[in-house]
């Protein structure tokens, strides 16, 4: 299949808003996806990732805003659009007593020009499971069946909502390999994830969501340069006592902030503090001085260059692991 060469962005969403009663789950977001591009949406729980993706998939009707997919209107040309779209939902259980082959045959029957289910099974490395019922598959194998169902119509545009959440590292890697193969076939992709590594490995462009809004957007390098340009210094106190930590860490931070203006951000995470610093040696000196003044011993002190995770922490105030 030739990559679709189009004048339009594959997805063009303008000012999408979705309200559930009084809750605004997605608040006036606009995004575009160029042909062949892979866009990752990151954000803590409840940020509105799934809601956004489901609007783009035509499953939820936006409260307001405009949406074009392949230059077509989602409301009016829904089935034409869906003929060319593949979807992996965040939480689906397909019928557990269907075999892998039966599941893919069923999904192939929904499309005008489906791929051969057996060829898909082969591509998903499930050949030895062809006639096994879904209830007897592991989580990773099941996810590959669902991915197969998502690809059965040879879609140009693929939506993947948390494709590897809950999988073991090995299954995750095998899904990444499959997705990378799709990228090399110039498929356009939108994926949501909680894994920085996933976004770093797969995405051409990253959007960070919080509270239904886009709070940052750009390539990986662009985001790191913009929000985390410098070294990341992490230190922890030599105590694990929750009370002491919650009482004392803020004091240490205030003290650091008022006496030394050299850092651009300081965020407490559990018993650790992360600081992005441009001038690392003076920062380390400052930290040690401040801690000494408060009679604390430093337990660990690390230094590394900024990552996507640091951008996320800086922007949302939360670690992606907690999110």
């Amino acid at each position: 299949m030739l990559p679709s060469i189009s004048r339009f962005p594959v997805v063009d969403a303008q000012s999408l808003t979705k309200k559930f009663g009084t809750l605004t789950a997605v608040d006036n977001i606009s995004l575009k996806l160029e042909p062949g591009e892979c866009l990752a949406i990151l954000g803590p729980n409840g940020a509105g990732k799934t809601t956004t993706v489901e609007m783009l998939e035509g499953l939820l009707t936006p409260t307001s805003g405009h949406l074009k997919v392949f230059g077509m209107d989602m409301q009016k040309q829904r089935s034409e659009i869906l003929e060319r779209v593949g979807v992996l939902l965040q939480e689906t259980n397909m019928y557990k007593r269907y075999t892998v082959k039966e599941t893919l045959q069923l999904f192939s029957s929904f499309y005008k020009n489906p791929d051969d289910p057996l060829a898909i099974i082969d591509r998903m490395n499930l050949k030895d499971k062809t006639n096994v019922q879904l209830k007897n598959l592991s989580g990773g194998q099941k996810q590959r069946v669902y991915l197969g169902a998502c690809l059965i119509n040879n879609p140009e545009l693929i939506f993947l909502d948390e494709p590897t959440t809950g999988l073991d590292p090995q299954s995750r890697r095998s899904i990444w390999d499959l997705l990378n193969a799709l990228k090399s076939h110039h498929k356009s992709m939108i994926l949501t994830t909680h894994y920085m590594e996933e976004a770093e490995k797969l995405a051409d462009r990253i959007i960070i969501f919080d509270h239904g809004k886009i709070i940052a957007e750009g390539t990986l390098n662009h985001l790191i340069a913009l929000h985390c340009d410098g070294q990341v210094i992490t230190f922890s106190l030599a105590t694990n006592h929750k009370q002491i930590l919650s009482d004392e860490l803020p004091k240490v931070l205030t003290s650091l902030k008022s006496e030394h203006q050299v850092f651009s951000s300081a965020v407490p995470i559990g018993n650790r503090v992360e600081i992005v610093a441009h001038s690392t040696s003076s920062m380390i000196t400052a930290i040690l001085e401040t801690l000494k003044k408060h009679n604390y011993e430093v337990h660990e002190l690390n230094m590394r260059s900024g990552s996507l995770e640091d951008v996320f922490i800086k922007l949302t105030g939360r670690s992606i692991r907690d999110a």
Partner: protein, 350 residues
């Protein structure tokens, strides 16, 4: 590669889901057979049942007719005489173990029975003629009765079409409803919605899928009925199946309507029970509706289970065919069309 039809694939799936779900299989196939065997055994030979009559010990046995009343009653082989104290006999009557009590006093002879009870009325007339004959009545006309069994008049012949209808109703309502609710809970309906599959195909596949299932259940009941009780349908089996399909379509559509917006299995269960339990009692599955008060009969005749029971019975017992079952067929078709139309409007995919 040849193009598969989504309707055919979905329908095949329904059958697969049924065949591979052991509990569904059990309920659909074995429950009606169990009913048939238990009720068939309990009611078979009912035509030879004897009349239970109570006699209170210590009453004047001969006065005022100069015949020995208890002895005359006992001499009739159709009567079983219970003797006992007033308390014992009254208690047995209360419990229904005795159909009528014979009592004497100086003024005459009384038969005490519940006039609303068929058994009581029957007992009373047997007691009367037994005693009259013992007292010397001679009948001007001599009548002997010849005992034959008309096929189709046994209780089991009446029961089997009723059980067919009942099992079609319960398996369509419960099977279809639960399947849709669990598909919705597992987000599978939402996944279907993200494909170009036409939503009405999913709904119709439930009706067609049921077709295969009901053929299995109808066959199981008919074969067991034939093997155990020698049951045969008077009308053609094609008519029976065709009419049963109308019933399946009606109840499956009702189930789809109930499941149109339900995400909770307990709610679904409650709804299907509310629909099916009253119908099970009033539609005449177990006993004839002939004795119902008229106003109830008026309402009941429009229920889908009533239409199905009546139609199946007329085919199986009277040899009717589809063309002579217009009103029943129209009722079932109306339920199918109206429920499907409403369900299509109301259906929520997640």
């Amino acid at each position: 590669m040849h193009k598969r039809s989504s309707l055919i694939e979905l329908t095949k799936g329904r059958w697969r889901e049924f065949r591979r779900e052991p509990s569904a299989f059990f309920f659909v196939i074995f429950m009606p057979i169990l009913w048939m065997v238990i009720l068939g055994a309990a009611f078979s030979g009912k035509e030879n049942v004897k009349v239970q009559v109570g006699w209170i010990e210590g009453q004047t046995a001969t006065s005022p007719f100069n015949i020995d009343i208890p002895a005359s009653l006992s001499s009739n082989s159709a009567i079983i005489l219970h003797r006992g104290s007033v308390e014992e006999i009254n208690l047995k009557h209360l419990r229904g173990e005795i159909a009528a009590i014979v009592s004497t006093d100086p003024t005459g002879l009384k038969i005490i029975y519940d006039t609303a009870s068929q058994e009581g009325t029957n007992a009373s007339s047997i007691i009367k003629s037994t005693l009259q004959e013992a007292a010397g009545r001679t009948d001007p006309l001599s009548i002997t009765s010849e005992k034959i069994t008309i096929p189709g008049t046994r209780y089991i012949d009446f029961l089997i079409p009723g059980l067919l209808a009942l099992s079609i109703m319960t398996s369509s309502l419960f099977g279809t409803g639960m399947l849709i609710v669990s598909n919705r809970r597992e987000n599978l309906l939402k996944r279907y919605l993200a494909t170009p599959m036409k939503p009405h195909e999913y709904l119709i596949s439930h009706i067609f899928g049921r077709t295969f299932i009901f053929i299995v259940e109808v066959a199981a009941i008919l074969i067991t009925g034939y093997l155990m009780f020698g049951f045969k349908s008077a009308g053609s089996y094609i008519s029976l199946l065709a009419f049963a399909f109308l019933g399946t379509a009606a109840f499956t559509s009702l189930a789809i309507l109930c499941a149109a917006r339900t995400a909770n299995p307990a709610t679904m269960n409650g709804m299907t029970n509310i629909i099916s339990l009253p119908m099970m009692l009033v539609a005449g599955v177990w006993f004839s509706r002939a004795n119902f008060p008229e106003w109830l009969g008026q309402i009941v005749q429009y229920l889908p289970l009533t239409a199905l029971v009546d139609g199946l019975r007329r085919i199986a017992l009277e040899g009717a065919n589809l063309s002579t079952l217009m009103s029943e067929s129209v009722i079932l078709l109306a339920y199918t069309l109206l429920s499907t139309a409403a369900a299509t409007k109301l259906f929520k995919w997640y």
